[in-house]
């Protein structure tokens, strides 16, 4: 089962967190597409004076999103990262006509977001939240993510889909 790891990649600690999560999922038997590994390619391209264009970055990440059976999206920070939200939207759209796509799992560790939820406000943007909740759920921990992915993997096997 192939998983696209979506999330903000803009600081070393975001990238380290996503890399650790990918490692955890790999150990649980999932194949992870980790876009920030492509970030290294991007740095080399900048250094060599041949930066990839926005279109090139889109094509590179779209290929991974379209090839995945599920997305795990890190939803932290004051707003969900715009790139992550876009990828959630794309995957939600692709799911409507592709039974090999199992769903979207949000991972939300941001204390400020959960504080919003405690007082009755949506923890993140309501459209993005709706997209996730219609085809998956928002998790607080990576353990919850692994448990749900394992269920989806079992369902794929039972349906005779390659995992």
């Amino acid at each position: 089962m192939k998983i696209y790891m979506a999330g903000p990649l803009f600081t070393p600690y975001h990238r380290a967190f996503i890399a650790r999560n990918a490692q955890r999922l790999s150990e649980a038997g999932f194949i992870c597409y980790v876009p920030h590994e492509r970030g290294v390619t991007r740095e080399i391209e900048w250094a060599s004076g041949h930066p990839r264009t926005a279109g090139g970055i889109f094509d590179m990440d779209y290929e991974m999103v379209a090839g995945a059976n599920a997305i795990v999206a890190l939803l932290d920070d004051p707003d969900v990262s715009s790139g992550t939200a876009c990828e959630i939207g794309i995957f939600y759209g692709l799911m409507q006509n592709d039974t090999t796509k199992k769903g979207i799992l949000g991972l939300l560790t941001d204390a400020q977001a959960w504080k919003r939820e405690q007082v009755g406000a949506p923890p993140i943007n309501a459209f993005t939240l709706g997209c996730v909740e219609k085809v998956g759920k928002v998790c607080k921990t990576v353990d919850e993510v692994v448990a749900q992915l394992t269920t989806w993997k079992r369902e794929m096997r039972q349906a005779g889909l390659p995992d």
Partner: protein, 158 residues
């Protein structure tokens, strides 16, 4: 030398980064305050208690190290910068503000944009008595210089 270390505290990995920086500072003999230590719990803080505790630490600090990541600088960090700037006006012993900017949306992947895309008020506040660095080791080297010490030798952990 006492340092107030300010940064995003709402996610576990951002807190981990601050704690690692605090540990390195202490290893270099620099006293350090960061609001995520001690009795602090995610989501458990009260506004009133937070401002009192952080304000006292800002009063006692010689320098502010502020992590400026995010599309916009975190509002809590911006508050710390403003408060410390005001405190510097009446305390000439304070050394200054050292910003750290990793965020590639703001600085770009090669840091070519540097701090120029930060909010100008915040950038001006920092630049009056300090500057923005691309990494914690760069800021640490400056802190050590401010405290009259040599920067870590090449290969030494920072």
């Amino acid at each position: 030398m006492k340092v107030f270390l300010s940064g995003i505290i709402t996610t576990p990995y951002a807190r981990e980064f601050l704690l690692q920086c605090a540990s390195v500072l202490r290893g270099q003999g620099i006293e350090c305050y960061t609001s995520v230590e001690g009795t602090w719990k995610p989501g458990g803080e009260r506004a009133e208690g937070t401002v009192d505790q952080d304000y006292q630490a800002l009063v006692e600090a010689d320098a502010l190290v502020a992590v400026l990541d995010g599309f916009n600088v975190n509002d809590g960090v911006a508050g710390h910068i403003g408060t410390f700037h005001a405190l510097m006006q009446r305390d000439p012993g304070k050394k200054g503000i050292l910003g750290i900017l990793h965020d590639t949306r703001v600085a770009r992947w090669d840091w070519k944009a540097g701090a120029s895309a930060l909010n100008y008020y915040i950038l001006g506040c920092i630049q009056q008595r300090g500057r923005v660095y691309r990494s914690f080791p760069d800021a640490l080297a400056e802190l050590l210089q401010l405290s009259g010490r040599d920067p870590p030798a090449a290969g030494e952990s920072a």
